[in-house]
């Protein structure tokens, strides 16, 4: 809202300089975002919070200045002609809930003209366009008192009547902006005998607009239901100065005064011949509101020691009625222009605002002592450990949008039906139409984004959520850890090595090890979106908790990514529930171990897991470590076979194994491998 500094001075005397007044108002809650110097005046750009409709006018702000500086408001008077006033307009309110009060005054024999220079300047400074002096005066009065007014060309009202009612389905109106608008029963209208002539509280109709040829006007000053106006304005997509005020609540007690003030100005400016008695239909004001303010409560909430007399003087300066009630309390009567004040806490806020937040001390005494239970949940502690492990392993943390385009390719690959995807009902664009069912798409976006910018090495993880419907229609979300790697593992002038699926697997293993997760395994299994060359499910204690693999080429093509990308997604809940961050020392081995190497040629299909299993089975607990240390396929090995070298470490917990014992274990192992896999031992 734009506020003219010099215009304010018409309602109250004060000596504060424009900059000082702006600061003072800002520190009282009426934030002045900018000050423009214009033709010797200063125009404030103010941000009025939605609880303070009384600040949407100059007089209301002048009232605030009264409280802040102690000078007195000047009354605004309507100078109505003393002569006899004929009749009064016919006004009927059909929807009493939608319109609690409607004041109409007819003014006859006018000659509308362009506004005087002074008036035109004010209208412009307030940010509106000047029209003619009748319309301009209605706007002037709105900026003065906050009451939106409307002037109809009375001669164009069919039957000379005003009916406030809901629109009927199928009715239309062309508003003063020239737009034809379809109406319905959700919209309150001002109608004449035949048709709607204005959308109540939002915008007038073009047909009954006041022009330079208008001779007789009907001036409207009404109170409309804020919620009704707000819904209608939203529905119609209109926001006007009037609707902005009505939906924030105008002063129902001020309708008549505002109408008379405007009528008197119109009479004078447009040389009216006669002015009717006001037709004032509906409530004359709001019911009385009295609030008890306990001083002890105010000081308890604020942490202050403000006296009752100080409070009383603050509240009086804001225009409220104040009476003492016993030792501790005040009874406050709330005037109609401050209907935002409904309960005690609203008054406490008023006191604190005018007393000045700066004058309230800063303390910590009481709250410092509180606090029970751990400050971080177990899950959060583990999440932080995950982040630390992964950044330590060289991965950068990414954050990608949880809202994305729907991806039919992914849905199909994962055999998700469209109804399993969480769709936003009011998306901004297709970019934010659905909640992601998996994180991998965001990971590939990041890879593609970097590759396009000639950043070839991307190693990332994200800790985020995926979203799905749990059992029908209940939306659900679960924590997911996603990882992706591509490009070079290490790149410097000495070593150049591309990232491999085993790099990613190693990072996950190292993560599990850091988190104390033991019973995990990677089970080779073809999975959607992954290349058959590298694809596995990750299991903890036999339960699937995630996937790992090389992204399928067809999928990468959709992102225009060339080269290999390795990704993994793990369910965080499972990771958290199996993790244990407490370290326990398990003692060092007391007896030395002996190692034997075995080189074998086996069918390519035989897995490491099976070989290790066979070796361990052959010698029970005595094989404490079985590690592959070389793998070869090629010339010296028959086609369809591989050569693997294992190192087996033997140790007994209670004695040193003799050479003979170890040799015999080694023999057993070799026999088992030959028998089980038809392996050729070299």
């Amino acid at each position: 809202m734009r506020i003219s500094y010099s215009w304010l001075k018409e309602y109250i005397n004060f000596s504060a300089k424009p900059k000082d007044l702006a600061d003072k108002l800002t520190m009282a809650g009426l934030e002045i975002k900018g000050v423009d110097e214009k033709d010797g005046d200063f125009i404030y750009e103010a941000e009025v919070t939605s609880n303070r409709p009384d600040w949407l006018c100059l007089y209301g702000i002048a009232r605030e200045i009264q409280a802040l500086y102690g000078s007195r408001l000047k009354p605004v008077k309507a100078a109505l002609p003393k002569s006899a006033r004929p009749g009064k307009p016919s006004i009927t309110i059909e929807d009493k809930k939608g319109c609690a009060r409607y004041v109409g005054i007819a003014i006859d024999g006018i000659r509308p003209a362009a506004s005087s220079k002074g008036l035109a300047q004010k209208i412009e400074n307030a940010g509106m366009r000047q029209v003619n002096n009748v319309a301009d005066i209605t706007n002037f009065c709105m900026f003065e008192s906050g009451q939106p007014l409307h002037a109809f060309d009375y001669d164009k009202l069919d039957g000379g009547k005003i009916i406030v009612r809901r629109a009927r389905k199928g009715e239309e109106i062309i508003t003063i902006d020239g737009v034809k608008r379809a109406l319905d029963e959700n919209i309150l209208v001002i109608a004449d005998a035949k048709r709607p002539v204005a959308i109540a509280g939002i915008m007038g109709g073009r047909d009954t607009e006041v022009g330079f040829s208008t001779k007789k006007v009907l001036l409207e000053s009404a109170y409309f239901d804020p919620a009704l106006i707000r819904r209608a304005a939203k529905r119609l997509g209109i926001s006007s100065e009037a609707s902005y005020r009505f939906e924030r609540n105008v002063d129902i007690g001020g309708c008549l005064a505002a109408a008379e003030r405007a009528a008197s100005l119109i009479c004078e400016a447009a040389k009216a011949k006669s002015i009717s008695n006001p037709s004032d239909v509906g409530a004359k004001g709001p019911g009385e509101i009295k609030i008890t303010l306990r001083m002890s409560r105010a000081n308890k909430v604020l942490g202050t020691d403000i006296s009752a007399s100080k409070c009383a003087s603050i509240l009086k300066s804001l225009g409220l009625g104040v009476k003492s009630k016993g030792k501790d309390a005040l009874t406050i009567s709330v005037p109609s222009f401050r209907r935002d004040l409904r309960e005690e806490v609203d008054l406490i806020e008023e006191i604190s605002r005018i007393y000045g937040y700066d004058n309230i001390p800063e303390t910590l005494s009481r709250i410092q002592l509180w606090g029970k239970g751990p400050q971080k949940s177990r899950d959060r502690i583990i999440e932080e450990a995950v982040r630390e492990a992964l950044t330590g392993a060289g991965l950068n943390e990414a954050i990608t949008y949880s809202l994305r385009c729907k991806d039919l390719f992914v849905q199909q690959a994962l055999s998700m039906t469209d109804s399993q995807v969480l769709k936003v009902q009011n998306p901004l664009s297709s970019e934010s139409e659905a909640l992601r069912p998996v994180l991998i798409c965001g990971m590939l976006d990041v890879v593609a984004y970097n590759l396009n910018r000639k950043v070839p090495d991307v190693k990332i993880f994200e800790i985020g959520k995926s979203y799905f419907y749990k059992g029908g229609d209940v939306p659900s979300e679960k924590g997911v850890l996603a990882l992706a790697m591509c490009g070079m593992k290490e790149k410097n002038w000495h070593r150049k090595e591309a990232v491999d699926i085993f790099d990613l697997k190693g990072i996950i293993e190292a993560l599990f090890s850091k988190l104390g997760i033991a019973g995990y395994e990677f089970e080779v299994k073809p999975l959607p979106l992954f290349s058959p060359a590298a694809s596995a499910v990750v299991k903890i204690n036999g339960k699937e908790i995630g996937v790992l693999g090389k992204v399928d080429k067809a999928f990468l093509d959709r992102y225009d990514i060339k080269g290999n990308v390795f990704v993994s997604e793990l369910a965080l809940e499972a990771v958290y529930s199996h993790a244990g961050l407490e370290h326990k020392f398990s003692g060092l081995p007391r007896y030395p171990s002996s190692s034997r190497d075995i080189s074998l040629i086996v069918d390519d299909k035989v897995s490491n897991k099976d070989i290790v299993g066979t070796i361990k089975e052959a010698c029970g607990d005595l094989a404490v470590d079985v590690s592959p240390f070389d793998l070869y396929r090629g010339e010296q090995v028959p086609k369809g076979c591989k050569s693997i070298l294992y190192s087996v470490e033997y140790r007994a917990p209670d004695r040193t194994l003799t050479d003979g014992e170890v040799n015999s274990l080694d023999r057993k192992v070799r026999e088992a491998l030959v028998q089980r896999f038809n392996a050729k031992i070299r």
Binding site: R231, Y357, L364, S432
Partner: protein, 337 residues
Amino acid sequence: MLDKINALEADAKSEIKTAGDSKALDDLRIKYLGRKGLVTEMLGGIASLPPEEKPRLGKELNALKMRLDEALRSRQAELSRSPVMPKDFADLTLPGFRPQAGSKHPLTKTIDDICSIFLGMGFKIVEGPEIETEFYNFEALNIALDHPSRDAFDTFYIKNQYLLRSHTSPVQVRFMEEEKPPFKIIVPGRVYRPDAVDASHSFMFHQVEGLVAGDGVTFADLKGALSVFLKGYFGADAKVRFRPHYFPFTEPSAEVDVSCFICGGKGCSVCGRKGWLEILGCGMVHPNVFKAVKYNPEKVTGFAFGMGVERIAMLKYGINDMRLFFENDMRFLEQFR
């Protein structure tokens, strides 16, 4: 004869100077000063000279011997100072192989930094769901339907009355339903609002929210706690001001500004020439919020606050475009190692 001596000295010295190792120097010592060396030979030749020249030349040659010996020694010393390049010589002007540590996302870093100050004040970190209901996102927080205060909370809806939380405040309500005061909690999280993406807007962003409730919590405590936080985060010299504002879920409410640390409060483009940066919103918990979770507002008072993580990160790190956070350019992320 004297000319011969001078020529010999010149030759010898130039050879010594270019000798590459101690072996070459040894050879030169033998060549000149050895028993059959050139200088020795000349000394032997003195006998055949006229007697009046003998002492002078003898003296000259002995002096030459001394000078060459000195030259050989000094070259030897020189060589021992600059040994020959070993086979495994490392040119240490080449770049080292840096261990490739990754980085936490700057938003995570910002959240962690904010939370750590509150952890130090005894707050507890609490989190909650992103998919919410009208009740938790609005009703329980005293945000009325069809009220203009809802304008600040445009919200994404999903079917069956569910929505994506437009702020982290629903977590307050969920926490209070489960727990009894007194408590101090801090709530970081992702939130959503239908704002088109540009340099300063995003339909997804992050907030950190806080709530303190108990018997006798005051506005003065709110000022105290938030001043500690703001000075902790922005530096002890930061000036802090509390400005009255309106939020449906708190009353009295305030917006909190910190003196602009870029211009020092003089006014610049970052602070919009105001000298102040708006950092957070806060206030005393509205009694209706306590009533919604069945607390007695006569007994329990409290304060709440909330801040936008992206905005704080942008100010702190000098980031001028919000989109950078979600594009995840490696060159961006790696600056926060």
